[in-house]
Amino acid sequence: MNALKRSLKEMANFPSAIAGGAIIVFLVLLAVYAIVAIPYDEAIRLWRGGEEIWGDNPRIVPPAWTNLFRNEKLPTTIVRNSQDESTLTSKTVTEISEDMWDVVMTFDFDYDFDAFPQDLMVFMNATFAEKGPFVSMFWITPDGREIRLGEVTAKASETYRFAQDERLLRRLKGVDPQTALFSDPNKESPTVLKGKYQLRIDAITFEEGSDLEAKFIAYGKVHGLAGTDHRRRDLTIALLWGTPIALSFGLLAALGTSIITMAIAAVGVWFGGPVDELIQRITEVNMLLPTLPILIMVGTFQSRSIWVILGWIILLSIFGAGIKGFRAMFMQIKEAPYIEAARSYGASSWRIIFLYLVPRIIPVLIPNLVTGIPAFVFLEASLALLGLGDPVLPTWGKLIDDARANGALYNGQYYWVLEPAVLLMLAGLGFAMVGFALDRVFNPRLREV
């Protein structure tokens, strides 16, 4: 215990160890927060749920805080929903005749950004028995112009896409609606006219009790803490949930690999002879096994589950290069007098191996383990980059893969690549720095140089 305390104190002399430790603490906190704030099932629902979950998000936009570094503020998404009292400005129903009612909804919103929105849509849900309501929409600009948008006969579920309305496009002289509707008419080049806009939805219903609910969305060009991907999903979920996955994957793989490797080396050294010989030969063969192609085959033919892959990774790395290092150390310890003593009072082989040999190696094992973690974290990302990521869980590697597959680098959507990459880098560096310092503390031979 005292030795541990002393080692920890010694660690404090390495600035890189402190920085690395801080990074690890931060990542662990982030991981705990992710698991507590968004339970597993909720995370899966948010990431795999479907359009209704992320339909309100814009497509491939950077995070909202990037506006701080911009002169021209990009718009955030504006949602106005008639079922949400706080965003509905007014809704009136007047009877026109015996079988005709006029439902009028207005949505007000302030537009105070320097750029045009990404897209404009109105989603409608009509309740009726036979004849759906007839809906016409109007756009009122801050300077009081009223622009007729389009007419639709609403079905139970109806989507009106501004940009795909040919007649509207013709009326706007070919300029796409999201630009034309927000432009200042007195300026040559399209400039945003800031102020209060209004959308009026005028529905004629033809049945008693027939009603219309509408949701208007002006998709922004920035979103949330982390931006969105090509399927409009909020990257925050994947970044948050990627943390516990990466940490547990790296830790489990490193732990499994180094402990089993050490045990095998100890057994080989203790029993010697054919056992040792066999272990040595297996190690040699194993080093020639093409690890990544095998993992790829597992991913393609067996299962893409991250935990199956983890098992294979451990299986393929236990007879790795580490065995030689451990073997050399056990060879030395085996000759120590206290082992001799244990043998003379009749301790069993297994007792000697696991109670006397192995504990002596633990100081070497710990740095080994910590330095091993980044390699496995990156291995997971590498597999994801090859398209073999877990089909359900969101991971950092999968984000980079998505970004690459959708040409994020070519199209300048750097946030998409950089966010997971920076987190990966942090995880890698944190563990590498701590492991490095541990190595120097526990292996005094290295400390001199």
């Binding site: 063969v285 597992v298 991913g299 560096l429």
Partner: protein
């Protein structure tokens, strides 16, 4: 310069009374033993690969499904067989499927087939691809792979050659000036090697291809390829800058740190002190008394890195669209083309074995113990 003169001082260190013929014989025996053990290792490795690839007969199921599907489509599209009844048609399909499965050997027990696969894989008779074809139009997996091998070898050889010598000389320089600012910086930066090359590749692409636009996004040569061979070579060179840089960034600091530590440990030996005391120039001391004894260690170290790096190459190629084996593997995964995936795994096993053998050979040349001592110094 140094590398050319390496074997010489090593030989000078060895006791000279042994006749050189004996030495050559020992070297040859060492190499033959290595070659045989590596070959056995390759056979075992390839067999394991086949076992893994056939996990639970999954590949067979896919293959059988494909046979049934293509046969059914062929029969139902055939106008001559339009008048057959449903039962007759099904019977015909079953018969044809059985013939096809027999042709492919799918009706034999797996154990028998696995050894046949092994024989074919070892002789590089890798079968025909299911979906992919080589650029020349061949569907033979062997042709597809041999077409992709040169780019991979070009990239890997360049990367590792540069990496090895750059890190070696830089480490020598640092061990001479150890403790200075640069040395401390390298130690501080050595954890950055935890990230693989493709990871730095993404950053390099972002910076040099996307933001600055100086270098291409990927590929091996400009499209359309230049006619003139000189222009062609220049174009390839231009496309190689980023992947090679990514490779070197990822391997550099840890490599330098490792070698530097070796040099420092060895330069503390008494015989180095003695050599210094004798008044030899520091260059001589470095070359004869520090570099020579460390070289076997360094080569072992490099061999281990290289083996680990082979798999990094797959993804580096994918990220940079380099038309090599790695990218082939990536495309094969996407198309679910199992013969190509298995074929690539076999080729990788061979490449690893060849790498290990070459390094063992160099090791034998450099380490005098191999020639005069009790055989392999590497256990």
């Amino acid at each position: 310069m140094t590398e050319a003169s390496l074997p010489l001082p090593a030989a000078a260190e060895a006791p000279t009374e042994k006749p050189s013929k004996n030495q050559a014989l020992k070297l040859a025996r060492y190499i033959v033993i290595k070659l045989i053990s590596l070959f056995v290792a390759v056979i075992v490795g390839v067999y394991l690969t086949i076992l893994i690839a056939n996990m639970g007969g999954y590949v067979d199921d896919i293959l059988k499904g494909q046979i049934r599907e293509t046969t059914s489509i062929r029969i139902s599209m055939d106008p001559a067989r339009k008048n057959l009844s449903m039962a007759e048609r099904n019977q015909l399909i079953d018969e044809l499927v059985a013939i096809e499965e027999h042709r492919l050997g799918l009706d034999q027990p797996f154990l028998v087939r696995s050894f046949r696969f092994l024989g074919r894989a070892i002789t590089l008779n890798l079968g025909r691809a299911q979906h992919m074809a080589s650029d020349s139009g061949s569907k033979e997996v062997r042709n597809i792979i041999t077409e992709r091998l040169p780019p991979t070898l070009l990239l890997m050889a360049t990367c590792n050659f540069i990496l090895f010598f750059v890190t070696l000389f830089f480490a020598l320089y640092l061990s001479r000036n150890y403790g200075n600012l640069l040395d401390k910086l390298v130690i501080a930066l050595s954890p950055t090697s935890a990230a693989p090359a493709w990871f730095y590749g993404i950053f390099l692409l972002l910076l040099f291809a996307s933001v600055l636009g100086w270098l291409p996004f990927g590929g091996m040569v400009a499209a359309p390829p230049p006619e003139n061979p000189v222009d062609y070579a220049l174009s390839v060179l231009r496309h190689m800058i980023l992947p090679v840089a990514a490779w070197i960034i990822s391997g550099f600091f840890a490599g330098v740190y490792g070698y530097r530590t070796f040099f420092l440990i060895f330069s503390m030996e008494d015989y180095v002190e003695l050599a210094r005391a004798k008044g030899l120039t520091s260059k001589d001391v470095e070359r004869r008394y520090v570099l020579c004894p460390t070289l076997p260690n360094i080569i072992t170290n490099f061999a281990l890195t290289l083996i680990g790096l082979w798999q990094g190459a797959t993804i580096l190629e994918t990220v940079f669209n380099w038309p090599g084996l790695g990218r082939l593997l990536y495309t094969a995964i996407g198309l679910y083309d199992s013969p190509v995936i298995i074929g690539s795994a076999v080729i990788y096993a061979y490449l690893l074995a060849i790498t290990v053998f070459l390094l063992d050979f160099i090791y034998a040349l450099v380490d005098p113990r191999v020639r005069v001592g009790s055989g392999g110094a590497k256990s």
